[in-house]
Amino acid sequence: MSKRSDHEEFFEQAFPSAEDQAPYIGKVVAFDNRTGAIRDSADTFEELVDRHTDESLDGLALLYIPGVPFIA
């Protein structure tokens, strides 16, 4: 985390590159917070939670890549 001013701290978060995301469209991936590298994938969030422990999820983030532009 870097601090530009008292009012503007920037929270740095790595993210998988477009190339890295390509094989995982329609999937949920677990990627490394610091590098953006994808470490695991599954069809659903709950599959990844069931496969990992809280400790092995530390430092990772789960991301659904729907593959189509979405409205919410």
């Binding site: 985390m1 503007e8 701290e9 920037f10 929270f11 740095e12 978060q13 993210f15 477009a18 995301q21 390509a22 469209i25 329609g26 949920v28 917070n33 069809d43 659903t44 969030f45 709950e46 990844l48 939670v49 069931d50 809280d54 999820l57 990772l60 983030a61 789960l62 991301l63 659904y64 890549i65 729907p66 593959g67 189509v68 532009p69 979405f70 409205i71 919410a72």
Partner: protein, 139 residues
């Protein structure tokens, strides 16, 4: 605190428009897990896949809520309570959440997230801001 917009790849090989995706630790009674959630001022509710919440040990209250998408597609979601942490632990909120029956992009919505924090977007600068309110709101 400022966060960067992120871009998802689309199935045709192009990139989606930059999105305000926030890395949130979803804390249930049994487990916790980090999920990228869309900061969505168009959604009235905060929502996650129901089975994901169940995997964290979240119990649903029995209250149900019908929600619809922009295109009026309707779904019945179930109400629960979770704790959300983000910003390296700087922010933590206990909040109502809806369990969505199927896979979805998790969203942080108006009713709880935007009601709790001051949120602003700088889409041109590819970033968004979340901060605590400066004054206590009175209703």
């Amino acid at each position: 605190m400022r966060f960067a917009f992120q871009r998802l790849r689309l199935s045709d090989g192009s990139l989606d428009c930059p999105r305000p995706l926030l890395n949130v630790s979803v804390v249930g009674p049994r487990r916790h897990a980090p999920a990228l959630m869309l900061v969505d001022s168009g959604s009235s509710e905060t929502m996650l896949p129901k089975r994901f919440l169940e995997a964290l040990g979240v119990q649903f209250s029995g209250e149900k809520s019908e929600v619809s998408s922009f295109c009026a597609e309707r779904h019945e979601a179930e109400v629960a309570a979770v704790t959300l942490r983000f910003g390296g632990g700087r922010f933590e909120v206990s909040t109502r959440v809806l369990g969505f029956p199927g896979q979805c992009v998790p969203v942080l919505g108006l009713r709880d997230f935007f009601g709790r924090y001051v949120v602003s977007f700088d889409a041109g600068g590819l970033s968004f801001f979340v901060s605590e309110p400066r004054h206590t709101r009175q209703n």
